[in-house]
């Protein structure tokens, strides 16, 4: 039973991180209508910014997280302005290749500055909490709490504020939104900033129990793609639910099936589901 609960905890941790990344990806998809392959590199950039702030500037973990959110939001907005905006009328292939260009640039840039080594990120939450026979690492609890808090805040923002509503409106219908006087440029920049900040925070939350390295974003982003394809591209609840499902699938898969193949599980789920239902699990209409 303890082992089972331990896996539940692992599942929530992974699911929280995946949800945050997938949320950003799905919001940007709502604006671009094209998957942003560079999102994983944004995640990686977040971890490195925090690493730099903590190690070189000597500031604390929370400053690192804040700095990462700001830096990645900036990178994200810049890439929207410089790359995706000029391409908004180009075929989908061009978007994808351009986002791959950004991805390759950021990865190579991080490698040029920090080298190819793996880095450890320190966290002030190293304690192990004992709770009824369960050992709960504080960092994992922090991830779960922070992820759920951010998701709840984002939901409130999208549902209850005018600015949030403009993002939803843009995602639903670009021309319609423009017709009722929504500034498409401003909304696009805002969406990219939020998506970037979420990726940055997710990276800083997860990095202490993982490691910091240049290709750290690749697996995460691919899994985030799996999540938003399954949950329906552009759907916010789909990204949250999908993230949790995948987190649990991986945690239990690693425990009950095989640790070696745990990374394959996400992709196997995608291949399996899309083979049976090409339109995804929750999405309406065919892809």
């Amino acid at each position: 039973m303890e082992l089972f609960l331990q896996q539940v905890l692992n599942g929530l941790t992974l699911g929280g991180v995946y949800s945050l990344v997938a949320l950003g990806l799905t919001l940007v998809y709502g604006i671009l209508h094209v998957p942003n392959f560079a999102h994983g590199a944004f995640y990686m950039a977040g971890a490195y910014s925090a690493f730099f702030i903590m190690n070189k500037l000597g500031l604390g973990y929370w400053w690192g997280m804040l700095g990462a959110a700001v830096v990645v939001a900036l990178i994200s907005v810049l890439s929207e302005r410089l790359v995706f905006h000029p391409l908004r009328k180009a075929p989908y292939l061009h978007h994808m290749i351009a986002s791959i260009g950004i991805l390759l640039f950021l990865e190579a840039g991080a490698q040029a500055i920090w080298g190819a080594d793996f880095h450890r990120m320190e966290t002030p939450y190293n304690q192990l909490l004992e709770f009824g026979g369960l050992t709960l690492p504080a960092q994992r609890l922090l991830i779960i709490a922070a992820a759920f808090l951010l998701v709840a805040l984002l939901q409130l923002f999208l549902k209850k504020t005018i600015t949030g509503a403009t993002i939803v409106a843009m995602a639903q219908n670009r021309e319609g939104a423009a017709l009722v006087g929504i500034d498409a440029t401003r909304v696009a920049m805002l969406t990219f900033a939020i998506a970037g900040a979420l990726a940055g925070v997710a990276a800083v939350l997860y990095a202490p129990i993982n490691l910091v390295y240049t290709s750290m974003g690749n697996l995460v982003i691919t899994k985030a793609f799996v999540i938003i394809v399954l949950g329906g591209m552009g759907s916010v609840p789909g990204a949250i639910v999908g993230g949790l499902i995948l987190g649990f699938a991986e945690a239990f898969g690693a425990f009950y099936i095989s640790t070696d193949y745990k990374d394959i599980i996400a992709f196997a789920i995608l291949v399996l589901i899309l083979s049976v239902r090409p339109q995804g699990l929750f999405a309406k209409g065919a892809h």
Partner: protein, 337 residues
């Protein structure tokens, strides 16, 4: 300008390629060129499915690894002669491509790309983890060089170069035949619009699947050549970065053209050779280059050149047409002139 018609251009390229070993200073240059040719074959394959048929397959390097591992496993673990294993490399890739294509090609646009990205990851992870078959992360070491044919020993750099060149020329010729045929037109119709193609009576699934299988056949064959040439393979062959590399070759040269991918696949590695400092960080330069290309030169070098030429010809043709029609409609012709 008639000096540079396609036939003379291609012949000139072939002569240059044939003479290259005598012009190259050392074996190292020969190795760089041969590797570039191998990737050019794979890129030509990627261009068929992406450039001509409009489906961006991100598992392309995975299929190259399938070809390479077919040769590696058969020759090292089962002592199959290289040539037989090599002949199988493309076939195995195409066979696997049939099943992957059957499932993935039901998806459109970026959903297809995401799906194939996942397939590529599965391929990579299976190669890395299935140690009893693929030797895991250690890779397969000591793949024998191709056995000699008619006394030509293929373990020396020069015969190897010509061997790779032979397959490159053959691939280009086959691709030329495909593109100029009705089949090629069919693929391009699909690229230009699924619905329109279907309205013309084209069976989408069958043609896409055929393009996909042909494309990965080239990739598998390139992988087989790679295994026989480098003689060591690891899971890294399957990594998606190689697909990104090939995408760049295709885009620099000109997507959806015959010469473009070849130009890119040969030009870019040589450029990196000269920017030796950049070897590890080449994407600091090439990443933004890729973005700039997509924004400002989406048709690459060859595509842009051909578009300009076409526009010039249209400009030349237009006044000519006006002048021939001048005697008939004098008043109108006069205002045009």
């Amino acid at each position: 300008m008639k000096l540079f018609n396609p036939t003379t251009g291609w012949s000139l390229l072939l002569v240059l390629a044939l003479l290259f070993p005598f012009l190259a200073g050392n074996d190292y240059h020969l190795t760089v060129m041969s590797t570039a040719y191998i990737y050019a074959i794979a890129t030509i394959g990627l261009n068929l499915i992406t450039g001509y048929t409009g489906q961006y397959n991100l598992a392309h390097s995975g299929f190259m690894a399938v070809g390479a591992y077919t040769v590696g496993i058969l020759t090292v673990d089962h002592q199959v002669p290289f040539w037989i294993a090599f002949a199988l490399s493309g076939v195995v890739a195409a066979f696997l491509g049939f099943f992957v294509g059957l499932v993935s090609l039901r998806l459109k646009t970026h959903f297809f790309s995401i799906f194939t990205l996942c397939v590529g990851y599965i391929m990579y992870l299976v190669i890395e983890k299935w140690e009893s078959l693929t030797h895991g992360t250690v890779g397969i070491i000591g793949i024998p060089a191709p056995e000699s044919i008619a006394g030509i020993d293929f373990s020396a750099p020069r015969p190897q170069y010509y061997l790779v060149l032979f397959f490159l020329v053959a691939s280009l010729w086959i691709m030329h035949r495909i593109v100029r045929s009705l089949l090629g037109r069919t693929f391009m119709a699909i690229r230009n619009g699924d619905d329109l193609a279907q309205a013309l009576g084209i069976n989408l699934m069958r043609n896409k699947l055929l393009a996909f299988m042909l494309s990965v056949f080239f990739s598998g064959l390139a992988g087989g050549l790679y295994a026989g040439f480098v003689r060591f393979i690891g899971p890294g062959v399957a990594s998606v970065e190689h697909t990104f590399d090939m995408t760049m070759y295709m885009l620099v040269g000109g997507i959806g053209t015959l010469l473009g991918p070849l130009l890119g696949a040969i030009g870019v590695p040589w450029l990196t050779q000269y920017l030796q400092v950049l070897q590890d960080y080449r994407f600091v330069v090439f990443g933004p280059l890729l973005v700039l290309l997509v924004i400002f030169l989406p048709y690459g070098i060859v595509g842009t050149y051909m578009n300009r030429k076409r526009r010039k010809e249209a400009l030349v043709a237009a006044p000519a047409a006006a002048s021939t029609s001048a005697p008939l409609t004098t008043a109108k012709g006069a205002t045009h002139a």
